[in-house]
């Protein structure tokens, strides 16, 4: 089943001399359970694509369908709730809440949703990620790799329909990068988790089921 459909997506910044076409009429689809890697050089528009797909920035033109529903026809609040409940986002720089510990960061979307925390699931995820012994630590007490694991845990906790990962290994050393990629791969295989991952690293991209190459805002 198609979880995501991107149709003629364009994103233009600025006007006149300073106009930048970040996305140029992009179209593609993603199936449920698919691990898609989007690869491209720096400035190719891959992050813009991911953010648009996540509902974080309205496109200049084009549509993004999530389970057949046009995301940008929803109001801001509904889009936010959609993200909270159905889309997990992992950033290059982790973007954890610095005042919350590991456990609290992971359960944050659940608490925002005012739902009861499934403690069993929490334990499972923490064990899966190998961070159960760091549960009370704050982000500034963790290594980069550990922080990224927490970010993955936050994304997995809500049982999302799709995980969007923006250069998840971009800020990590090779060992940590490998760990993270393996975790994502594992999540995809064990939980049938649909994942779209942005990367500039071909080696990492090859671990995905499919690769889309993007350059100058266009799919090559």
């Amino acid at each position: 089943m198609k979880i995501l459909k991107v149709e003629n997506l364009s994103k233009i910044y600025g006007k006149g001399d300073t106009k930048v076409i970040a996305l140029n009429n992009i179209s593609f689809e993603v199936e449920e359970g698919e691990f898609l890697a989007i690869i491209g050089p720096s400035g190719s528009g891959k992050s813009t694509l991911l953010h648009t797909v996540a509902g974080l920035g309205k496109p200049t033109s084009g549509k993004v369908y999530f389970y057949g529903k046009n995301m940008y026809e929803m109001n801001k609040k509904d889009l936010t709730i959609l993200r909270r409940q159905k889309i997990g986002i992992i950033y290059q720089f982790y973007n954890l809440i610095p005042t919350l510990n590991v456990e609290e960061n992971i359960t944050l979307p659940i608490e925002l949703d005012k739902k009861k925390i499934d403690k069993v699931k929490l334990e499972e995820i923490m064990k899966f990620l190998g961070i159960d012994n760091r549960r009370k630590h704050l982000p500034n007490e963790l290594s980069g790799g550990e922080q990224q694991k927490v970010a993955i845990g936050r994304a997995l906790m809500i049982n999302p329909n799709i995980i969007l990962a923006d250069e998840p290994t971009g800020n990590l050393d090779s060992k940590s990068s490998n760990e993270i990629i393996q975790l994502l791969k594992k999540a995809n295989k064990e939980y049938n988790q649909t994942i779209i991952m942005i990367t500039h690293n071909l080696e990492i991209a090859k671990l995905a089921d499919r690769i889309i190459q993007i350059e100058d805002g266009k799919i090559i």
Binding site: K77, Y91, N95, L108, L112
Partner: protein, 761 residues
Amino acid sequence: MKIETKLTFNNMKKNIKRTIYTTISIALCAFLIITTLLVTTSISNSLNENISSKYNDYHFVIRNVDLDSFNKIKDKEYIAQIYLQENDEGQLYEIDNLPASFQITNGINIYIKYDNYKKVCTYTNNIFETLNLTYVEANKKCELNTRLLNSCGLIDVSINAKQYVDNVPICQVRLNFTYSLDVMIIIILLIFSILSIIILYNAFLITMNERKKEYAVLNSIGATESQILKMTFLENTIIGIIGIMIGFFISILGSYLLLRVLNHIADSTIYNFKLILDIKYIIVSFVIIMMNIYISSLISSIRANSTSVIQGIKNNKQIKLKKNNSIFEKYLPIEGKLAFKNFKRNKNKYRIITILLIICMTSYITISTYINYEKVAANLIDEYDVDAELQLSENSNKYYKSILDNYVNTSGDKMEYLEYKVMGLYALVEPEDALIAECRYGDVMHFPIQIIGLDDKSYNGYITDLNANYGDYIIYNNLTQVEREGEEYIYKYYTAFKANYNFNLKIAYCNYSNNSEAVEYEIIDDETLREKFTLTKELPNGYKEVNNTEKITIFTNMDTFNHIEEKINIHPKKDRYQQNIWMHYENTSNSGNFVKIKCGNIINFSNYIENMIQKQNMDIFVRYYSLENKEKIIYMNILELILRTIILTIIMIGIINSINIINASLYEREEEFKALSRLGATKENMNKILIYENIYMFIKATIISIILSIPILYKIIQYMEKTIILDKLLIPLTNIGIFILLLFIIFLVIAIYSTKFIKEE
């Protein structure tokens, strides 16, 4: 605990400095509003109490009332008591207790006490309407502005029976109570509220900007705008309540101390300001401040939310690039250039401090100038060089000295008093051309003179100064004639008698027949005022007001005065056409003595003498010459103190905000400073950048303040020129310069202190 609450508390703890700065800002804003309310309402209450106790017997006097008008108003239901007075000098009698000899006729004075002193203006307006009274100057109906005027006091109305407009008598209204402070309080609170909203908006925005990334991340993982708004409101409410509590307690202390100082300044006046903690005003101020917090919180949240999630996460700002540098920048060193660019880029951040500085400087420049003008005006006593004058009867003449001595002994005040007598007469001169023609009334031979009999001390001092002989008659030979041409007054100065002339003066009755051109003279005395004249343009000490008399003045010793007075007394007027005495003084009735008073504390003296007159029913009439001015100086000092307190509070708010803003700015610019460090910039270079930024901000604020002050100063000078005419401007440039310099030093110190927080690589 809910996640929003948890995040809020965590953020407050994490950014404890920011939390403290914002709390202090709120506390100071609360201090400004609560202190204003407490002090002004306390002063207002004290004034009310004082006036109501002073004017307890009656609230409204209407003079020269005809019988018909009296009948119209006497039965009004709101009148508690009426006193009647036959004329201005007569005694007051209760209407129900009139003596048999009392005649209620046209021209009586009516003193009215209302049943509710708080409604003096309303009841008086009703009486005005009943009698259909009109003002003298503006041909419009008499009406008091009940909103502006205080609710109690004395209203004194004189009906001019000879002037009518459309068959309605014209009257003059004199008010003797203060204008209501209520309207002023509301306006001041409104201004301070707006100021608080701006200050708090800025403080909250700094916090929002620091957490922009965090809010963006929360939004991206599913926190709605309302959830984020809840967090910010919760934080601001907690800080707000703490800030208000602190502000409240320092307000109580501040108000108490301020009123104590005000009482010290107004020590010799009748006022004693007590701090009144009325619960309704406290609640009102709490509500005002909480509203300010919510409004500024809402605006800053909306502003912060206007950034897109992506921008927030990336934590970058759109920087508008200006293609051309200004000419100014070309001459600056690199630190100055960077500082100037930063200053232009961060205008919004620096705006609030700039605004606060402008408010402080403009207020100080304009209000200091106004106070300076008022104080100088108060000190310039043009007309009199004594503080007061007593008019005595034959009876009070006997005991006034003991009263004055008692005052000196009990108060410790210093005092000098000069006795004198005065009479106004007509005189003829021989030879006629000794007198300059302008001093005559047309073609008639006679001219008015006043003879002042000085006490020994004054007379002896005067003749010594003039090198005259004992027994000489000193003629003040410098007259001022005032004419009015439209709105302008024209002063003419001339001498009365020609110098080096031997002349004699004859005191005469002037007998006017029906034809006013034909005057007969009856000489009363032609022996006394002969030959021994000294002409001078100098006046004796204490008689400065003679300068404004259009009549010729002759100073004599008391013996000569008494001698002339005797001659007049024994020389009867033949009939009523004989013109003689035209001033203070009747030649047949009781004469009065006058005593000029110079004292150290006229306010103390006025309280003492009024008390004595009232309690002992003395027949002494007092005229005050310097009292109003002295009171004005006290009020100016009070105003100055209040102004300085307000400005100090605003400066403190500015300092806190300044530290807060610079701190936040440094936090945001951490990468910039690290980058500069990597390129070889030393701590000294980076310190200079910050200092330059603060200097630009200060220079901008100073220039704007001066520009804003100019039209206000112009208006002040124009207004004050109606009271005094000076050949120089009274702008206290030294004080203003020192104030601006101090402010500059304070902000420079803040900048230097903030450089400690710059982190190098």
